[in-house]
């Protein structure tokens, strides 16, 4: 009651709150329209592709759609012994339809992913099924090849029934689901992905460390030099940014190769003999060197922007209060640069973990990263769903790191400029 009495009205009698909302609504719409193009752009180029990637990585509808009747009839089958006649009949009908549409080859490829040995027996079934008689399909199909009489193969077909699967993610971690539905490691000689994940983390970590060690003094120098020198130095730091990534990587190839400039120099000063030149490329060293140089500006800039704001009188105060130059640095200056260190390290680490061109060109076999494997599956094997799965694993890895960082340092402490 009392609040109603207190309601403030505008001169034309509408409540103030209502007319305020009305007035602000226009502004809100205007503001939204201004950002709408960007929002749309982000949705189309970022949210949508990532969603698409997620779908693709778990999508397993292909087989489900190719054998609709089979899977319907398999619902009651417990999978312990050979399926009953009706399953065979349904499979025969589905298969005939596939032959008509000339899609039986795809089925054999897909089923072969699940279990080796499907390719040949499907081919054989196609040939023989032309002369099948009506009725008793179980006997006829089993007579085509003894594998059709093996319950393992029918179980393999049943495993492909769900429209969605996490198999690709297991494969990305060198694991798979065996016939019994247990998740097991692949045999040791076939474990390639885990090595790549670990190597990716290792290279990203050390590149971040190297970048930090090199960038800290540079950024400090930039922040303390007089303007005319610091501008020049800044240009030197930024120069790589203005050069194509490919050109920079290629120039590292010229420098680092066995007949390259660095090796020539080592030979000249007698560090190594001519027939014993150092291998600095097509291995981890190449990746480390080139990536550190290329990612260095991403560390320098956040550090610089933070250091720029630290008043030189703080170091002086630290010294005048009795701290040695080291104590003044460690207790006063360094803690104040932590937001910049955090920003720089996070930036470099995240960029390094997904780096592609440089390791592909100078990394060789031992210096490639997970992104090179993703590219390989995108371009060569055309297993896009597997590539998507690994891409998403990489993305979630980055998000985990971001989350960890937020827990440890606090994301509010980041300062990019």
């Amino acid at each position: 009651m009392s609040s109603e009495n207190k309601q403030i009205l505008t001169t034309d009698g509408t409540p103030l709150e209502v007319s305020l909302k009305k007035a602000e609504k226009k502004n809100k719409i205007k503001a939204f329209l201004l950002v709408a193009p960007l929002l749309l752009f982000i949705i189309i180029t970022y949210v949508f592709p990532i969603g698409e990637m997620l779908m693709r990585s778990v999508d397993d509808k292909m087989v489900t759609e190719m054998l609709p009747k089979t899977y319907k009839s398999m619902e009651k089958w417990d999978g312990k012994e050979l399926p009953p006649e009706e399953v065979f009949e349904a499979f025969y009908i589905d298969f005939q339809k596939l032959i008509e549409e000339e899609r039986e080859g795809k089925l054999s490829t897909q089923l072969n992913y699940t279990k080796n040995g499907f390719k040949s027996i499907i081919k054989k079934l196609r040939r023989k099924s032309k002369s099948f008689e009506e009725g008793n399909y179980k006997e006829q199909i089993m007579a085509v090849h003894r594998r059709w009489a093996d319950v393992e193969y029918w179980r393999a077909i049943k495993r492909r029934a769900p429209a969605y699967t996490y198999q690709k993610y297991l494969k990305g971690m060198d694991m798979y689901e065996n016939e019994k539905g247990e998740i097991v490691n692949v045999s040791e000689d076939r474990r390639v992905h885990r090595i790549l994940w670990l190597r990716t983390l290792e290279i990203a970590f050390f590149v971040t460390v190297f970048c930090f060690l090199m960038a800290y003094p540079i950024a400090h120098l930039l922040a303390t030099l007089p303007m005319k020198y610091s501008n020049l130095l800044m240009i030197c730091v930024l120069l790589p940014f203005w050069t194509s990534l490919l050109v920079r990587t290629a120039s590292w190839m010229i420098l680092l190769q066995q007949q390259g400039i660095v090796n020539d120099f080592f030979v000249t000063i007698g560090l190594v003999t001519d027939d014993n030149r150092v291998e600095m490329m097509y291995n981890k060293t190449g990746s480390y060197v080139a990536m550190t140089q290329i990612l260095l500006p991403f560390m320098v800039l956040p550090l610089y922007s933070v250091m720029k704001t630290i008043s030189p009188s703080l170091m002086r105060a630290g010294k005048s209060l009795g701290g040695t130059p080291f104590v003044a640095f460690w207790k006063v200056y360094f803690p104040l640069t932590i937001p910049g260190i955090g920003a720089g390290c996070l930036l470099v680490f995240i960029l390094a973990i997904g780096y592609y061109i440089t390791p592909a060109l100078v990394g060789g076999a031992s210096g490639t990263l997970i992104s090179n494997q993703i590219a390989f599956h995108m371009k060569s094997t055309l297993d896009w769903s597997f590539a998507s799965a690994m891409g998403l694993m990489l993305l979630s890895g980055v998000l985990v790191i971001y989350w960890l960082y937020n827990k440890l340092v606090g994301i509010d402490n980041i300062k990019l400029g």
């Binding site: 008043s311 009188s313 703080l314 002086r316 105060a317 630290g318 010294k319 005048s320 209060l321 009795g322 701290g323 040695t324 130059p325 104590v327 003044a328 207790k331 006063v332 803690p335 104040l336």
Partner: protein
């Protein structure tokens, strides 16, 4: 315990940054123990450079600085044991007030319970008890300034340097902080070297003031002497208000001299003139010249009122006198019986003792 008169000693100190210009020239300055000495001067006069040399952040190009009898030019800043208050406080923003104050004690490895006592004492000295756990960013400018002062004193230095510490505060706060710093100085007897370009601050706080200009100390004396008896025209001009006449010495005899102006002759006190014919600037403080003086004064001249500005407690009157149209008088508001109106002709008088004949401008 005898007080050392040269607790801090600048001995023939020169300083040049670029090898071409001397920013400090042949500086000779003694500061006694327990004294509050202010280095006052316009910007670029070399006062901050002197302070930085004393603190150890700059080294003298030539000469030597002594602290308590020891040459300190080769001692790094952290071993000098000099407290310092910086222009922008320079509090460590990532530490609490307590940690800021604990910093100088920790690096000196003072046990925690003893350090806590010292911190409590220092905070109560600047009346900031209960603020120990605040971050500097949560404090007002004045409070940050007090923390900075407390931090510079907490490790009981014998000498504290203050580099324009009140420059960033507003006028009222600045004045109250001036008294506060002065009281702290008086109560603990520490030697303070204070740098400012604000003359009223210097006059309020100091035992002695060194007026800097052009890399040199122009005058080193107590505030009253500096104001009443400036030794040259720069000091007269820089400290307080000042009326000047340019002229030439006609006669000189002991305590008096006759100066010839363009249109008249006046009597003055010869300070830096020695001979007949020398050019000179005569300086008279506004409050030393009176309108219609009742006492007998040896300079009496007529002037025309050009401007009257009301200032509350006093009125400023600009007069055209003996060819100088910028002659300022300060008339207390109690003397309202005087006939101060724009355009009036009035009689103005001063004693020749208060008209100081200094070096020409």
């Amino acid at each position: 315990m005898s007080v050392k008169n040269d607790f801090v000693k600048f001995d023939k100190v020169d300083k040049s940054y670029d090898g071409k210009i001397l920013v400090v020239k042949d500086l000779q300055l003694d500061i006694a123990e327990g004294e509050f000495v202010t280095m006052l001067g316009p910007s670029g006069s070399g006062k901050t450079t002197c302070l930085m040399m004393l603190a150890g952040f700059e080294t003298p190009t030539n000469g030597e600085i002594y602290l308590d009898g020891n040459a300190i030019s080769s001692i790094p800043p952290h071993k000098r044991g000099i407290g310092m208050v910086f222009q922008n406080y320079a509090l460590f923003p990532h530490m609490t007030v307590y940690e800021n104050l604990a910093f100088p004690l920790r690096v000196r490895k003072i046990p925690k319970n003893e350090a806590d006592k010292k911190i409590d004492k220092a905070l109560s000295m600047v009346s900031l008890q209960g603020f120990a756990q605040r971050m500097p960013g949560q404090l007002s400018g004045g409070q940050q300034q007090r923390v900075a002062v407390a931090r510079s004193l907490v490790f009981d230095p014998q000498l504290v340097l203050m580099d324009e510490p009140l420059g960033a505060l507003d006028k009222n706060l600045r004045e109250s902080m001036q008294y506060e710093i002065k009281h702290i100085h008086e109560s603990i007897g520490v030697t303070v070297v204070y740098v400012t370009h604000d003359q009223s601050e210097a006059l309020t706080m100091s035992n002695r003031i060194a007026v800097f200009n052009d890399g040199k100390v122009q005058q080193l004396s107590s505030p009253d002497e500096l104001y009443e008896k400036p030794v040259n025209s720069f000091v007269a001009e820089f400290i307080g208000e000042n009326n000047t006449f340019e002229g030439e010495v006609l006669e000189i005899s002991g305590e008096k001299c006759k100066i010839k102006l363009s249109s008249a002759e006046i009597l003055a006190n010869p300070i830096s003139v020695k001979e007949k014919g020398e050019r000179t600037t005569v300086s008279i403080r506004p409050e030393r010249a009176l309108i219609n003086p009742t006492d007998k004064m040896d300079n009496m001249h007529n002037g025309k009122i050009e401007e009257v500005i009301y200032h509350g407690d006093h009125t400023r009157v600009r007069i055209n006198l003996l060819g100088n149209s910028e002659f300022i008088l300060k008339v207390p508001n109690s003397s309202s019986n005087l006939d101060i109106k724009l355009g009036n002709e009035i009689k103005i008088g001063w004693n020749s003792d208060d008209a100081r004949a200094l070096d020409p401008k």
